[in-house]
Amino acid sequence: MGFLDAVLGRRKPARPNLDSLFALPSAAITVQAALDFVPTGRAAVAFRSPEGRAFADVEAEVRALLDADGGPPVEVREDGFGFDWVVIGTDPADLGAAVIDAHAVNTSLVEGGFGPQLLCSLVSFRGPQDEPLALVYLYKAGTFYPFAPKSGSEQQRDNVRELQVRDLLTGELPMEANLSRWFAVWDAPGL
């Protein structure tokens, strides 16, 4: 943010960086090989839907686009914070196809002028004991971080596992270095 923006009390909205998403499928193979966490084939895109007709139209277009191509089924769910999650589920699990669709959702929103509304995307994994794990992509920072809720316990994270995943993927994906930005996505649709 520039000096002039500070003086004038304004700020340019942060722009999303979409291309890093395509690095996910190969990173998933690394995770599977090293930790035995299998991709579920689900991807989810989260955004804060703004009020007004324009966004509703863009959202309808996105749905029509994804339903028309005969690809994996999508559904839109709202979480407890007012954010909408477009969940793409592939069966049998096909992370590559899910990522391509997630990217299409992003591109449509950005082209509609709603790029600043994008929050994050995630792809989910399951461990050998069915533990959930997600790789979350922060659009505005252009970085990934792992999110591993402890199964069976109330809102606790398996930080050891998360750090393990980060160390594993550091060479492969741009991992978020600032740990305070690894915000939790409890009960995120698609997790």
Binding site: R48, F55, G113, P116
Partner: protein, 301 residues
Amino acid sequence: MARTRYGTDRGLTVRMFGTLFGLGLMYVILAAALYALGFSAILILGISGALLFGQWWFSDTLSMKAMRAVEVTPEQAPQLHAVVDRLCAMADMPKPRVGIADNDAPNAFATGRSPDRSVVVVTTGLLRRLNRDELEGVLAHELSHVAHRDVTVMTVASFTAILAGFMVRSAMWGSMMRGRRDQSTALMFLAVMVVSVVVYLISYLLINALSRYRELGADRGAALLTGQPTALASALTKITGDMASIPTQDIRQMESVSAFAFAPAVAGKREFTLEQWFSTHPPLEKRLAQLAKIAGELGQR
């Protein structure tokens, strides 16, 4: 490159620039007056500068103490932290600390010398009264203050007013001490005093005007970040409506932080326009009108 819906508000930019220019001009006039009168201003400048610097440097601690606010961890207030987390992720800004003040008056403020050293505080009264989307709007407003570095900008702007305040006091003191011995010295100090009072008044008006524009800027930033101008408008209506009915006795203590607070702490009547000039926050109607305009822009295809 994708198009954007978030244009800048040129009118607001021009007004803010004008206010800042006015403040700078006042400072230049003051310096010239000082020089013409042969006043030794270096000491005063040093003292007031140091005071203001301290106020800015410790702004987070001072404001939290003044409001009796305590910092809360994500475990203590998971919902509040989660909302701040999401807003910071969308705006790509460092997450400030989060505090809660046990006060039934619904209000919120943000303070701190830099975005990395900031704290956002909400009162328990605010948490009780607002729904999820309204709370999100208020937090986005406070985060916009942080992102716009409003504490720093307002501190720098306050410099002239504080400087002039010092001058008034020292001029009064000086004329009392030396006035009897030398007639012309007394006149000189009288002149300094008059100039200082005028400078102080005008810079005070300008600072408040600047504060009002910063508020509008923060409202705008919040509405664009969340995409929900109507939720913010609803929060504003709730807060300012409630504020007016609360006795001012208790709330007057909040005066010292009201420049960075969400709604002015001392509720006043809006009978004539002069009062607007002395207010740190724009009138509710003006804020609602701006939010309605943004809502219209967001709805356009």
